[in-house]
Amino acid sequence: MSARTEHGAFAGTSRRGRLRARLATPGLLGLPLGWLGVFFVAPVCIVAAYSVDALSLFPGPHQVTLSVWRDFLHGGVYLHLFWKSVQMSLVVSTVVVLVAYPLAYYLALSGTKRKYVLLLVLIAPFLTSYLLRVLAWKVILGNQGVVNTFFAWIGLRAADHPISALLYSRFAVMLVLAYVWLPFVALPIFVALENVDQSLLEAAADLYASRLQAFRRVTLPLSLPGVVAAFLFVFIPTVGEFITPSLVGGTSGYMYGNQIVDLFGTGFPDWETGSVLALFLLVVIAVLTGIFARFLRVGQTPAR
């Protein structure tokens, strides 16, 4: 009886354990999946419904139509703007990665004891608001800003002929975006470089690889996943960026994100076209992320 009880108790514990194990996965995943469902999937579905007129801001009869999508794909104006934004983001992402890599390399591999202090200094701008950091550039780049005043002072430009392309231009948008996103880029590269097994570099040296060869054949491939992640960190949000271009962009720095905002709320609400533009951005970014993620996995192979 006693043995049976013990056996029964063991069996019960084991059943409970199995049940707990079975519930653990959905229990743990439930909250994030629910979050995603409510705050991502459902809103995207609503936006999709607006894009085909299944939902409409205005009451009254309306029927499902693909006409806005057709206008968008055949019109060309918004696609052209999208391509312009992609180009700007590609330039920003590439430049920022190229600038951030040596910085992260120094911090991770130089062996300095102060690397975490320096890392903190690098991300210090995060302590101020995004808006303030962007607005500060107006003071620097304006006609009477720091740069133009300095050029006039050293006699490079006449005071009444400042470099006007510094502000309210495509250049201004790309410069400010690069500045704002630099710490985001440096961090994943830093982490990737710090995880590089130092013994591999020692092995490369033992095999008479020069420092450049060791970098090209060992360090760079191993840090590539961090570089790709960093590139995505910048590229994805900047394609749809609208705060920076609206503050420093002017007419030539107007981006796709500004257009989405304006379609929803300027002149007359055109939620259908705004939804089409927003969904198109989402789809393109998702596809590009998928492609990059694949590259990310390939990049990880040599590390194994």
């Binding site: 801001l57 205005f58 009451p59 019109g75 104006v77 918004y78 052209h80 703007l81 107006k138 304006g142 006609n143 009477q144 800003g145 400042p162 006007s164 502000l167 309210y168 609206s246 002017g250 007419t251 107007y254 500004n258 257009q259 304006d262 379609l263 929803f264 709320g265 300027t266 002149g267 007359f268 609400p269 055109d270 939620w271 076209t273």
Partner: protein, 371 residues
């Protein structure tokens, strides 16, 4: 007067009418329409609760308190609650999305749109003592089919602002905004007014109701001139920064922008173009089904007083529909031509009006920006 009585009667249920009749000593049902309207007013004076106001930033508890100080003094327990709108399109989206304010303040070009939308109801001017002091031309612009849907408030002009030390206009014309000599120094305004102004410049018969061919021509013209433009501003502070720092020399602007630039000691002229400026007037509108009709009238009356009007002119640099008010600044007095009550209308200016094909205009303008 009967008209307003009718509109109030329509808002009363039978049960309410009986209560009102009792309150008015039975006079409502016996004495007919006039007595019932009077009884309705008695009920209205008993309204309580927070008045929900949908207004522009700067006109609520964020700096605009003087405009409704009298209302607060009269209704200390029924303080207004504010929601902000960035433009009429934003307000329209908010209303359709379920926001239920008691009043909001679109501009004169939207009066007909909202009056026919079923979203608003007419005011009863007899409940607004300051109404008699309001500019009659602006009051008329707030009417639709004989009913007062809009109570005029702030107003101003759209015209051209430029620096006299940098810019030498060939003529007194809107064309200065398209002048190749000032490439990279021009600012346009992010508004459908740009299409109307282009229509005026190109000599269209009715720039507010352009044909498809005219709209296409205006769009093509604007796109061909966009390379000259440094900035398309959507808030005055953006314009002040760019103009004040010398990044921009020519701008589509309002009278207050001229005053602000003069304060910065810049040599500026606010041009009265030969095609005429466009005048705009803010219009308070009363939402359909508002439970605070009397409070809304009281709030708008406070806004319409000469004291509030002067404060608005002195502090925000816009004109006010109250003809008794005069700003302290002689510059502003001059820019707004406040001594001329007809300043906002022909032959001085084109008073902004309804754009029947507003959605198409918006699409056309957005494509100009995207191009």
């Amino acid at each position: 007067m009967n008209r307003q009585g009718d509109s109030l009667q329509r808002r009363l249920t039978r049960a309410e009418a009986l209560k009102l009749a009792a309150a008015a000593g039975g006079a409502g049902l016996i004495g007919g329409r006039t007595a019932l309207a009077g009884a309705a007013r008695m009920r209205l004076t008993a309204e309580t609760g927070a008045l929900d106001v949908l207004d522009w930033a700067g006109y609520g508890n964020d700096g605009g308190q003087t405009m409704f100080a009298r209302y607060i003094a009269q209704h200390p327990k029924d303080k207004p609650r504010f929601t902000y709108m960035t433009n009429e399109s934003d307000a329209l989206a908010k209303l359709h999305a379920g926001l239920k304010p008691d009043i909001f303040r679109p501009y004169v070009g939207w009066v007909e749109y909202f009056a026919t939308s079923g979203l608003v109801q007419p005011w009863d001017p007899s409940l607004i003592p300051s109404f008699k002091q309001l500019n009659p031309f602006m009051v008329r612009a707030g009417r639709y089919q004989g009913k007062q849907y809009g109570i005029p408030a702030d107003w101003g002009f759209d015209a051209v602002l430029y620096r006299t030390d940098k810019v030498k206009p060939k003529s007194r014309s809107w064309g200065l905004l398209f002048d190749e000599r000032y490439k990279g120094r021009i600012a346009w305004f992010d508004d459908l007014g740009m299409l109307v102004m282009t229509g005026l410049y190109l000599g269209f018969k009715d720039p507010w109701n352009q044909t498809d061919a005219q709209l296409q021509r205006a769009q093509k013209f604007l796109i061909s001139k966009k390379h000259l433009v440094r900035l398309i501003w959507s808030s005055e502070t953006n314009l002040w920064e760019a103009f004040g720092s010398g990044d921009v020399w020519v701008a589509y602007a309002w009278p207050n922008d001229w005053v602000q630039m003069k304060k910065k000691k810049l040599p500026v002229v606010y041009m009265h173009p030969k095609e005429k400026p466009i005048a705009w007037v803010g219009m308070f509108m009363l939402l359909q089904g508002s439970p605070h009709v009397q409070l809304a009238h009281s709030y708008v009356d406070a806004w319409s007083s000469a004291r509030s009007a002067k404060w608005l002119e002195d502090n925000y640099g816009y004109g006010h529909a109250n003809t008794k008010a005069r700003p302290s600044s002689s510059d502003l007095l001059h820019a707004l031509q406040l001594t001329n009550p007809r300043a906002v209308t022909e032959p001085n200016a084109h008073l902004d009006r309804d754009i029947p094909r507003r959605a198409l205009y918006a699409k056309t303008w957005e494509e100009v920006k995207a191009a």
